[in-house]
Protein backbone atom coordinates (compact mmCIF):
# COMPACT_ATOMS: atom_id res chain seq x y z
CA UNK A 1 0.00 0.00 0.00
CA UNK A 2 2.80 2.38 0.87
CA UNK A 3 4.30 1.84 -2.57
CA UNK A 4 0.98 2.58 -4.19
CA UNK A 5 0.67 5.83 -2.27
CA UNK A 6 4.16 6.81 -3.33
CA UNK A 7 3.26 6.30 -6.96
CA UNK A 8 0.19 8.47 -6.50
CA UNK A 9 2.24 11.15 -4.80
CA UNK A 10 4.71 11.11 -7.67
CA UNK A 11 1.92 11.54 -10.19
CA UNK A 12 0.49 14.45 -8.26
CA UNK A 13 3.90 16.09 -8.19
CA UNK A 14 4.27 16.06 -11.97
CA UNK A 15 4.93 19.55 -13.31
CA UNK A 16 1.96 21.39 -14.67
CA UNK A 17 2.32 23.38 -17.84
CA UNK A 18 3.22 26.97 -17.01
CA UNK A 19 0.50 28.26 -19.27
CA UNK A 20 -2.61 26.26 -19.98
CA UNK A 21 -6.13 27.60 -19.79
CA UNK A 22 -8.81 25.14 -18.80
CA UNK A 23 -12.36 24.97 -20.08
CA UNK A 24 -15.21 23.94 -17.82
CA UNK A 25 -16.83 20.71 -18.92
CA UNK A 26 -19.98 18.75 -18.34
CA UNK A 27 -20.00 15.16 -17.20
CA UNK A 28 -20.96 14.24 -20.73
CA UNK A 29 -17.57 15.55 -21.84
CA UNK A 30 -18.80 18.73 -23.50
CA UNK A 31 -17.05 22.03 -22.86
CA UNK A 32 -19.18 24.94 -21.73
CA UNK A 33 -19.66 27.74 -24.27
CA UNK A 34 -22.04 30.46 -25.40
CA UNK A 35 -23.66 29.94 -28.80
CA UNK A 36 -24.11 33.69 -29.26
CA UNK A 37 -21.11 35.98 -29.29
CA UNK A 38 -23.22 38.81 -27.86
CA UNK A 39 -23.98 38.15 -24.22
CA UNK A 40 -26.30 40.31 -22.10
CA UNK A 41 -25.68 41.10 -18.46
CA UNK A 42 -27.44 43.09 -15.81
CA UNK A 43 -26.77 44.26 -12.29
CA UNK A 44 -29.30 44.30 -9.52
CA UNK A 45 -30.46 47.86 -8.90
CA UNK A 46 -29.36 47.76 -5.28
CA UNK A 47 -25.72 47.57 -6.29
CA UNK A 48 -23.54 47.54 -3.22
CA UNK A 49 -25.00 49.58 -0.36
CA UNK A 50 -22.30 51.73 1.16
CA UNK A 51 -20.52 52.09 -2.13
CA UNK A 52 -23.54 52.93 -4.24
CA UNK A 53 -25.02 51.43 -7.35
CA UNK A 54 -23.10 53.57 -9.83
CA UNK A 55 -19.64 52.69 -8.53
CA UNK A 56 -20.40 49.00 -8.16
CA UNK A 57 -21.89 48.91 -11.64
CA UNK A 58 -18.94 50.81 -13.09
CA UNK A 59 -16.52 48.29 -11.63
CA UNK A 60 -18.42 45.42 -13.23
CA UNK A 61 -18.69 47.31 -16.52
CA UNK A 62 -14.92 47.74 -16.60
CA UNK A 63 -14.48 44.05 -15.95
CA UNK A 64 -16.77 43.09 -18.85
CA UNK A 65 -14.99 45.59 -21.07
CA UNK A 66 -11.64 44.01 -20.26
CA UNK A 67 -12.77 40.72 -21.80
CA UNK A 68 -14.59 42.47 -24.64
CA UNK A 69 -11.52 44.39 -25.78
CA UNK A 70 -9.49 41.30 -26.63
CA UNK A 71 -8.86 41.73 -30.35
CA UNK A 72 -8.60 38.11 -31.40
CA UNK A 73 -12.08 37.36 -30.08
CA UNK A 74 -15.44 38.73 -31.19
CA UNK A 75 -17.19 38.22 -27.88
CA UNK A 76 -19.19 41.27 -26.78
CA UNK A 77 -21.53 42.17 -23.95
CA UNK A 78 -24.77 44.13 -23.77
CA UNK A 79 -25.44 45.97 -20.52
CA UNK A 80 -29.11 45.79 -19.55
CA UNK A 81 -28.66 47.18 -16.04
CA UNK A 82 -30.26 47.95 -13.72
CA UNK A 83 -32.54 45.09 -12.85
CA UNK A 84 -34.96 44.59 -9.99
CA UNK A 85 -34.22 40.85 -10.12
CA UNK A 86 -32.40 39.28 -7.19
CA UNK A 87 -32.87 35.62 -8.06
CA UNK A 88 -30.08 33.68 -9.70
CA UNK A 89 -30.50 30.62 -11.87
CA UNK A 90 -32.49 29.91 -14.96
CA UNK A 91 -35.83 28.28 -15.57
CA UNK A 92 -36.71 26.23 -18.60
CA UNK A 93 -37.68 28.43 -21.50
CA UNK A 94 -36.43 31.65 -19.93
CA UNK A 95 -34.10 34.09 -21.59
CA UNK A 96 -30.91 34.29 -19.59
CA UNK A 97 -30.41 37.63 -17.89
CA UNK A 98 -26.94 36.94 -16.42
CA UNK A 99 -27.47 38.75 -13.16
CA UNK A 100 -24.77 40.31 -10.99
CA UNK A 101 -25.93 40.64 -7.40
CA UNK A 102 -24.35 41.45 -4.06
CA UNK A 103 -25.78 39.37 -1.22
CA UNK A 104 -25.92 41.44 1.94
CA UNK A 105 -27.09 38.85 4.48
CA UNK A 106 -26.24 35.25 5.26
CA UNK A 107 -29.13 32.86 4.80
CA UNK A 108 -28.59 31.52 8.30
CA UNK A 109 -29.74 34.91 9.54
CA UNK A 110 -32.16 35.86 6.79
CA UNK A 111 -34.25 32.69 6.52
CA UNK A 112 -36.47 31.70 9.45
CA UNK A 113 -35.47 28.53 11.23
CA UNK A 114 -38.60 26.75 10.05
CA UNK A 115 -38.43 27.95 6.45
CA UNK A 116 -38.99 24.99 4.10
CA UNK A 117 -36.08 26.14 1.93
CA UNK A 118 -33.69 25.24 4.71
CA UNK A 119 -34.53 21.61 3.97
CA UNK A 120 -35.24 21.71 0.26
CA UNK A 121 -32.84 24.42 -0.88
CA UNK A 122 -33.76 27.74 -2.43
CA UNK A 123 -33.26 30.14 0.50
CA UNK A 124 -30.82 32.30 -1.46
CA UNK A 125 -33.44 33.31 -3.98
CA UNK A 126 -36.37 33.31 -1.61
CA UNK A 127 -34.70 35.51 1.00
CA UNK A 128 -32.11 37.28 -1.16
CA UNK A 129 -29.25 35.91 0.94
CA UNK A 130 -25.83 34.25 0.76
CA UNK A 131 -25.97 30.48 1.15
CA UNK A 132 -22.47 29.35 0.28
CA UNK A 133 -20.78 29.80 3.64
CA UNK A 134 -18.75 32.55 5.24
CA UNK A 135 -15.45 31.67 3.57
CA UNK A 136 -16.52 31.99 -0.07
CA UNK A 137 -16.04 35.35 -1.83
CA UNK A 138 -18.01 34.97 -5.05
CA UNK A 139 -19.78 32.20 -6.91
CA UNK A 140 -20.82 31.86 -10.52
CA UNK A 141 -23.84 29.64 -11.09
CA UNK A 142 -23.92 28.41 -14.66
CA UNK A 143 -26.92 26.78 -16.32
CA UNK A 144 -26.26 24.78 -19.46
CA UNK A 145 -27.47 21.97 -21.67
CA UNK A 146 -25.78 18.92 -20.29
CA UNK A 147 -25.25 17.16 -23.60
CA UNK A 148 -23.92 20.06 -25.64
CA UNK A 149 -22.41 22.32 -23.00
CA UNK A 150 -24.22 25.35 -24.39
CA UNK A 151 -24.61 27.93 -21.62
CA UNK A 152 -28.01 29.55 -21.30
CA UNK A 153 -27.42 31.61 -18.17
CA UNK A 154 -24.61 32.51 -15.80
CA UNK A 155 -25.17 34.58 -12.68
CA UNK A 156 -22.59 35.96 -10.29
CA UNK A 157 -23.27 36.34 -6.58
CA UNK A 158 -20.88 38.41 -4.49
CA UNK A 159 -20.59 37.70 -0.79
CA UNK A 160 -21.06 41.12 0.77
CA UNK A 161 -22.45 39.48 3.89
CA UNK A 162 -18.98 38.44 4.97
CA UNK A 163 -16.55 40.44 2.81
CA UNK A 164 -15.93 44.17 2.41
CA UNK A 165 -15.64 45.07 -1.27
CA UNK A 166 -13.82 48.14 -2.56
CA UNK A 167 -13.33 49.79 -5.97
CA UNK A 168 -10.39 52.10 -5.37
CA UNK A 169 -6.78 51.92 -6.45
CA UNK A 170 -4.36 51.70 -3.60
CA UNK A 171 -2.39 49.50 -1.29
CA UNK A 172 -3.97 46.59 0.54
CA UNK A 173 -5.71 47.72 3.68
CA UNK A 174 -3.85 47.23 6.91
CA UNK A 175 -5.47 46.12 10.14
CA UNK A 176 -8.41 48.37 10.91
CA UNK A 177 -8.11 50.32 7.65
CA UNK A 178 -11.20 50.61 5.49
CA UNK A 179 -10.77 53.73 3.35
CA UNK A 180 -8.31 54.63 0.60
CA UNK A 181 -7.07 51.08 0.41
CA UNK A 182 -8.08 47.79 -1.15
CA UNK A 183 -10.01 45.12 0.70
CA UNK A 184 -11.70 42.79 -1.77
CA UNK A 185 -11.64 44.56 -5.13
CA UNK A 186 -14.88 44.34 -7.10
CA UNK A 187 -13.30 44.64 -10.53
CA UNK A 188 -10.59 42.15 -9.69
CA UNK A 189 -13.14 39.62 -8.48
CA UNK A 190 -15.60 40.34 -11.29
CA UNK A 191 -13.00 39.96 -14.04
CA UNK A 192 -12.14 36.55 -12.68
CA UNK A 193 -15.77 35.47 -12.30
CA UNK A 194 -16.62 36.67 -15.81
CA UNK A 195 -14.00 34.25 -17.04
CA UNK A 196 -16.09 31.51 -15.43
CA UNK A 197 -19.20 33.01 -17.01
CA UNK A 198 -17.52 32.62 -20.40
CA UNK A 199 -16.77 28.94 -19.82
CA UNK A 200 -13.23 29.16 -18.52
CA UNK A 201 -12.12 27.30 -15.45
CA UNK A 202 -9.14 28.07 -13.27
CA UNK A 203 -5.79 28.06 -14.99
CA UNK A 204 -2.57 26.71 -13.47
CA UNK A 205 -0.81 29.80 -14.87
CA UNK A 206 -0.06 32.04 -11.91
CA UNK A 207 0.01 35.12 -14.17
CA UNK A 208 -3.49 34.49 -15.44
CA UNK A 209 -6.63 36.24 -14.24
CA UNK A 210 -8.11 32.77 -14.20
CA UNK A 211 -5.50 31.51 -11.78
CA UNK A 212 -7.42 30.47 -8.74
CA UNK A 213 -6.45 32.98 -6.12
CA UNK A 214 -7.79 36.17 -4.61
CA UNK A 215 -5.48 37.44 -1.90
CA UNK A 216 -6.74 40.50 -0.09
CA UNK A 217 -5.68 43.70 -1.77
CA UNK A 218 -5.06 41.99 -5.10
CA UNK A 219 -5.66 44.12 -8.19
CA UNK A 220 -3.67 42.09 -10.71
CA UNK A 221 -6.69 40.21 -12.00
CA UNK A 222 -8.22 43.38 -13.37
CA UNK A 223 -5.98 42.85 -16.39
CA UNK A 224 -5.94 39.68 -18.43
CA UNK A 225 -2.87 37.54 -18.74
CA UNK A 226 -1.61 35.99 -21.94
CA UNK A 227 -3.16 32.69 -20.95
CA UNK A 228 -6.59 34.29 -20.47
CA UNK A 229 -6.41 35.88 -23.91
CA UNK A 230 -5.42 32.58 -25.47
CA UNK A 231 -8.30 30.86 -23.73
CA UNK A 232 -10.85 33.43 -24.83
CA UNK A 233 -9.65 33.45 -28.42
CA UNK A 234 -9.55 29.66 -28.55
CA UNK A 235 -13.19 29.44 -27.48
CA UNK A 236 -14.53 32.52 -29.27
CA UNK A 237 -12.17 33.30 -32.16
CA UNK A 238 -13.05 36.26 -34.34
CA UNK A 239 -15.16 35.01 -37.25
CA UNK A 240 -14.38 31.42 -36.28
CA UNK A 241 -16.41 28.62 -34.72
CA UNK A 242 -16.18 27.57 -31.12
CA UNK A 243 -14.23 24.29 -30.85
CA UNK A 244 -16.32 21.62 -29.20
CA UNK A 245 -14.76 19.34 -26.66
CA UNK A 246 -15.24 15.64 -26.51
CA UNK A 247 -13.10 13.04 -24.87
CA UNK A 248 -11.81 12.15 -28.32
CA UNK A 249 -10.80 15.59 -29.54
CA UNK A 250 -9.44 16.33 -26.09
CA UNK A 251 -6.60 14.00 -26.98
CA UNK A 252 -6.25 15.26 -30.51
CA UNK A 253 -6.49 19.00 -29.98
CA UNK A 254 -4.62 19.31 -26.75
CA UNK A 255 -5.69 20.36 -23.36
CA UNK A 256 -7.79 23.45 -23.87
CA UNK A 257 -10.61 21.51 -22.37
CA UNK A 258 -8.64 18.75 -20.85
CA UNK A 259 -7.90 17.23 -17.53
CA UNK A 260 -10.76 18.58 -15.57
CA UNK A 261 -12.90 15.49 -15.46
CA UNK A 262 -16.22 16.94 -14.54
CA UNK A 263 -17.45 20.45 -14.38
CA UNK A 264 -19.23 19.70 -11.25
CA UNK A 265 -22.56 18.13 -11.95
CA UNK A 266 -23.04 14.56 -11.00
CA UNK A 267 -20.64 11.75 -10.49
CA UNK A 268 -17.14 12.17 -9.28
CA UNK A 269 -16.37 8.89 -11.00
CA UNK A 270 -13.90 9.95 -13.62
CA UNK A 271 -12.71 6.39 -13.79
CA UNK A 272 -10.00 4.81 -15.76
CA UNK A 273 -10.41 6.81 -18.95
CA UNK A 274 -9.64 9.99 -17.07
CA UNK A 275 -6.58 8.37 -15.63
CA UNK A 276 -5.37 7.29 -19.04
CA UNK A 277 -5.31 10.94 -20.06
CA UNK A 278 -4.03 12.23 -16.76
CA UNK A 279 -0.30 12.46 -17.38
CA UNK A 280 -0.65 13.53 -20.98
CA UNK A 281 -3.16 16.22 -20.18
CA UNK A 282 -0.94 17.86 -17.64
CA UNK A 283 1.54 18.87 -20.29
CA UNK A 284 -0.82 19.56 -23.16
CA UNK A 285 -2.37 22.73 -24.48
CA UNK A 286 -4.01 23.84 -27.70
CA UNK A 287 -1.45 24.61 -30.27
CA UNK A 288 1.31 23.97 -27.82
CA UNK A 289 4.59 22.47 -28.85
CA UNK A 290 4.28 19.21 -27.04
CA UNK A 291 1.93 17.08 -25.12
CA UNK A 292 4.19 14.86 -23.11
Amino acid sequence: MRRALLVIAALVALPVSASAFVRSRTNAGACLFWESRTIPWTMNERGLPGLGYERAHAAFARAFRTWEEVECSDISFVDRSPSSETRVGHGNGERGDNLMVFRMHDCRDAAPQDAPCRRTGGCANEYDCWEHGSSVIAVTTTTFFVQTGEIVDADIEMNAAWFDFTDVDGPPCGPGETTGCVLTDIENTATHEIGHLLGLDHSPDREATMFASAPQGDLSKRDLGEDDVEGLCFIYPTDGPTPRCTDVDMEQAGAGCACQGSAGVGDAALGFLALALFVRCRSGRPGGPSRG
Binding site: R87, C117, A124, S135, T141, A212, V265, D267, A269
Partner: protein, 180 residues
Protein backbone atom coordinates in the same frame (compact mmCIF):
# COMPACT_ATOMS: atom_id res chain seq x y z
CA UNK B 1 -1.32 -6.00 -10.26
CA UNK B 2 -3.93 -5.28 -7.64
CA UNK B 3 -1.80 -2.46 -6.26
CA UNK B 4 -1.40 -1.03 -9.72
CA UNK B 5 -5.13 -1.19 -10.30
CA UNK B 6 -5.68 0.60 -7.02
CA UNK B 7 -3.21 3.30 -7.97
CA UNK B 8 -4.96 3.73 -11.28
CA UNK B 9 -8.37 3.93 -9.69
CA UNK B 10 -7.33 6.37 -6.99
CA UNK B 11 -5.37 8.59 -9.32
CA UNK B 12 -8.49 9.01 -11.38
CA UNK B 13 -10.11 10.42 -8.27
CA UNK B 14 -7.39 12.88 -7.41
CA UNK B 15 -8.07 16.59 -7.48
CA UNK B 16 -7.00 18.15 -10.75
CA UNK B 17 -5.88 21.62 -11.70
CA UNK B 18 -9.37 22.93 -12.11
CA UNK B 19 -11.17 24.91 -9.47
CA UNK B 20 -13.92 27.47 -9.44
CA UNK B 21 -14.71 28.60 -5.94
CA UNK B 22 -12.41 30.14 -3.40
CA UNK B 23 -12.75 29.09 0.21
CA UNK B 24 -10.74 29.20 3.39
CA UNK B 25 -8.74 26.06 4.09
CA UNK B 26 -9.95 24.08 7.08
CA UNK B 27 -7.81 21.57 8.95
CA UNK B 28 -9.31 18.21 9.95
CA UNK B 29 -9.60 19.53 13.49
CA UNK B 30 -11.39 22.66 12.28
CA UNK B 31 -13.70 20.58 10.14
CA UNK B 32 -14.56 18.54 13.21
CA UNK B 33 -15.10 21.57 15.39
CA UNK B 34 -17.53 23.09 12.90
CA UNK B 35 -19.42 19.82 12.40
CA UNK B 36 -22.55 18.83 14.24
CA UNK B 37 -22.09 15.30 12.91
CA UNK B 38 -19.33 13.30 11.25
CA UNK B 39 -20.36 10.05 9.63
CA UNK B 40 -19.07 7.24 7.52
CA UNK B 41 -21.81 6.12 5.25
CA UNK B 42 -23.05 4.91 1.91
CA UNK B 43 -24.93 7.06 -0.58
CA UNK B 44 -28.39 5.58 -0.92
CA UNK B 45 -29.87 8.04 -3.37
CA UNK B 46 -29.26 11.31 -5.11
CA UNK B 47 -32.06 13.35 -6.56
CA UNK B 48 -31.96 16.74 -8.21
CA UNK B 49 -34.99 18.96 -8.51
CA UNK B 50 -35.95 22.53 -9.22
CA UNK B 51 -36.51 24.83 -6.28
CA UNK B 52 -40.07 26.17 -6.02
CA UNK B 53 -39.08 29.36 -7.85
CA UNK B 54 -38.15 27.30 -10.90
CA UNK B 55 -34.74 28.93 -11.25
CA UNK B 56 -32.39 26.90 -9.11
CA UNK B 57 -31.59 23.20 -9.06
CA UNK B 58 -30.77 21.55 -5.77
CA UNK B 59 -29.61 18.00 -5.19
CA UNK B 60 -30.74 16.00 -2.17
CA UNK B 61 -28.36 13.22 -1.18
CA UNK B 62 -29.43 10.51 1.28
CA UNK B 63 -26.64 8.71 3.09
CA UNK B 64 -27.06 5.55 5.16
CA UNK B 65 -24.95 5.92 8.28
CA UNK B 66 -22.51 3.05 8.74
CA UNK B 67 -20.42 4.57 11.52
CA UNK B 68 -20.66 7.73 13.60
CA UNK B 69 -17.54 9.72 14.43
CA UNK B 70 -19.38 12.60 16.04
CA UNK B 71 -22.94 13.51 16.99
CA UNK B 72 -26.14 11.53 16.90
CA UNK B 73 -27.36 11.77 13.33
CA UNK B 74 -29.56 8.67 13.31
CA UNK B 75 -29.56 5.89 10.76
CA UNK B 76 -29.71 8.14 7.73
CA UNK B 77 -28.83 11.74 6.91
CA UNK B 78 -30.03 13.97 4.10
CA UNK B 79 -27.85 16.60 2.46
CA UNK B 80 -29.05 19.50 0.31
CA UNK B 81 -26.56 20.86 -2.21
CA UNK B 82 -26.98 23.58 -4.85
CA UNK B 83 -26.49 22.41 -8.43
CA UNK B 84 -27.40 19.26 -10.30
CA UNK B 85 -29.07 18.03 -13.45
CA UNK B 86 -32.78 17.90 -14.25
CA UNK B 87 -33.69 16.70 -17.69
CA UNK B 88 -31.56 18.35 -20.31
CA UNK B 89 -30.47 21.26 -18.11
CA UNK B 90 -27.70 21.26 -15.55
CA UNK B 91 -26.57 23.85 -13.04
CA UNK B 92 -23.02 24.05 -11.84
CA UNK B 93 -21.86 25.62 -8.61
CA UNK B 94 -18.22 24.74 -8.42
CA UNK B 95 -16.61 23.64 -5.22
CA UNK B 96 -19.64 21.70 -4.07
CA UNK B 97 -18.90 18.10 -3.09
CA UNK B 98 -20.02 15.49 -5.59
CA UNK B 99 -21.76 12.23 -4.68
CA UNK B 100 -22.64 9.14 -6.63
CA UNK B 101 -25.01 6.35 -5.66
CA UNK B 102 -23.48 3.48 -3.67
CA UNK B 103 -20.41 5.61 -3.01
CA UNK B 104 -18.90 5.14 0.44
CA UNK B 105 -18.06 8.43 2.05
CA UNK B 106 -16.91 10.21 5.16
CA UNK B 107 -18.70 13.53 5.56
CA UNK B 108 -18.46 16.43 7.98
CA UNK B 109 -21.94 17.89 8.43
CA UNK B 110 -23.65 20.99 9.76
CA UNK B 111 -27.43 21.29 9.87
CA UNK B 112 -29.43 23.63 7.66
CA UNK B 113 -32.65 22.58 9.36
CA UNK B 114 -33.87 19.97 11.79
CA UNK B 115 -33.91 17.43 9.00
CA UNK B 116 -31.18 18.36 6.53
CA UNK B 117 -27.47 18.99 6.47
CA UNK B 118 -24.86 20.60 4.29
CA UNK B 119 -21.21 19.64 4.08
CA UNK B 120 -18.80 21.76 6.12
CA UNK B 121 -16.22 23.62 4.05
CA UNK B 122 -17.81 22.64 0.74
CA UNK B 123 -15.80 19.82 -0.86
CA UNK B 124 -13.25 19.87 1.95
CA UNK B 125 -15.79 18.15 4.16
CA UNK B 126 -16.23 15.07 2.01
CA UNK B 127 -13.91 12.11 1.47
CA UNK B 128 -14.55 9.02 -0.58
CA UNK B 129 -13.82 5.87 1.41
CA UNK B 130 -12.05 3.16 -0.56
CA UNK B 131 -11.44 -0.31 0.79
CA UNK B 132 -9.54 -3.12 -0.88
CA UNK B 133 -9.71 -6.59 0.60
CA UNK B 134 -6.82 -7.16 2.95
CA UNK B 135 -5.83 -3.51 2.94
CA UNK B 136 -6.64 -0.65 5.27
CA UNK B 137 -9.38 1.78 4.32
CA UNK B 138 -8.35 4.93 2.50
CA UNK B 139 -9.93 8.37 2.63
CA UNK B 140 -9.77 10.06 -0.77
CA UNK B 141 -10.27 13.84 -0.92
CA UNK B 142 -11.94 15.38 -3.96
CA UNK B 143 -11.36 19.12 -4.04
CA UNK B 144 -12.24 19.63 -7.66
CA UNK B 145 -13.66 23.07 -8.24
CA UNK B 146 -12.33 24.44 -5.00
CA UNK B 147 -9.42 26.78 -4.37
CA UNK B 148 -8.20 26.97 -0.80
CA UNK B 149 -6.77 30.13 0.73
CA UNK B 150 -5.19 30.91 4.04
CA UNK B 151 -7.89 32.30 6.35
CA UNK B 152 -5.65 35.14 7.52
CA UNK B 153 -3.67 36.29 4.48
CA UNK B 154 -6.08 35.05 1.79
CA UNK B 155 -3.05 33.81 -0.10
CA UNK B 156 -3.64 30.55 -1.97
CA UNK B 157 -2.44 27.49 -0.15
CA UNK B 158 -2.04 23.84 -0.97
CA UNK B 159 -4.65 21.39 0.24
CA UNK B 160 -3.75 19.69 3.49
CA UNK B 161 -4.24 16.36 1.77
CA UNK B 162 -3.00 16.18 -1.81
CA UNK B 163 -4.03 12.56 -2.13
CA UNK B 164 -5.48 9.56 -0.36
CA UNK B 165 -4.57 8.81 3.23
CA UNK B 166 -5.42 5.94 5.56
CA UNK B 167 -8.81 6.51 7.13
CA UNK B 168 -7.43 5.77 10.57
CA UNK B 169 -4.79 8.44 10.11
CA UNK B 170 -7.50 10.93 9.23
CA UNK B 171 -9.41 9.90 12.32
CA UNK B 172 -6.34 10.59 14.44
CA UNK B 173 -6.04 14.06 12.92
CA UNK B 174 -9.72 14.79 13.40
CA UNK B 175 -9.55 13.89 17.05
CA UNK B 176 -6.15 15.36 17.77
CA UNK B 177 -6.07 17.20 21.11
CA UNK B 178 -6.27 20.64 19.50
CA UNK B 179 -9.59 19.74 17.93
CA UNK B 180 -11.30 19.31 21.25
Amino acid sequence: MRSLALVVALTGLLPTVAAGTTAERLSPAELATRSRAIVEGTVVSRQSQWAPDGKRIYTRVRIRVDAVWKGAPGEEVELVLPGGTVGELAQLVQGMPQFSEAERVLVFLEPTSAAAYRVVGLAQGKFRVVEVAGQEKLAVPDLQGLLLVDPESRAPVEPIFAGPLPLEKLRELVFAPESR
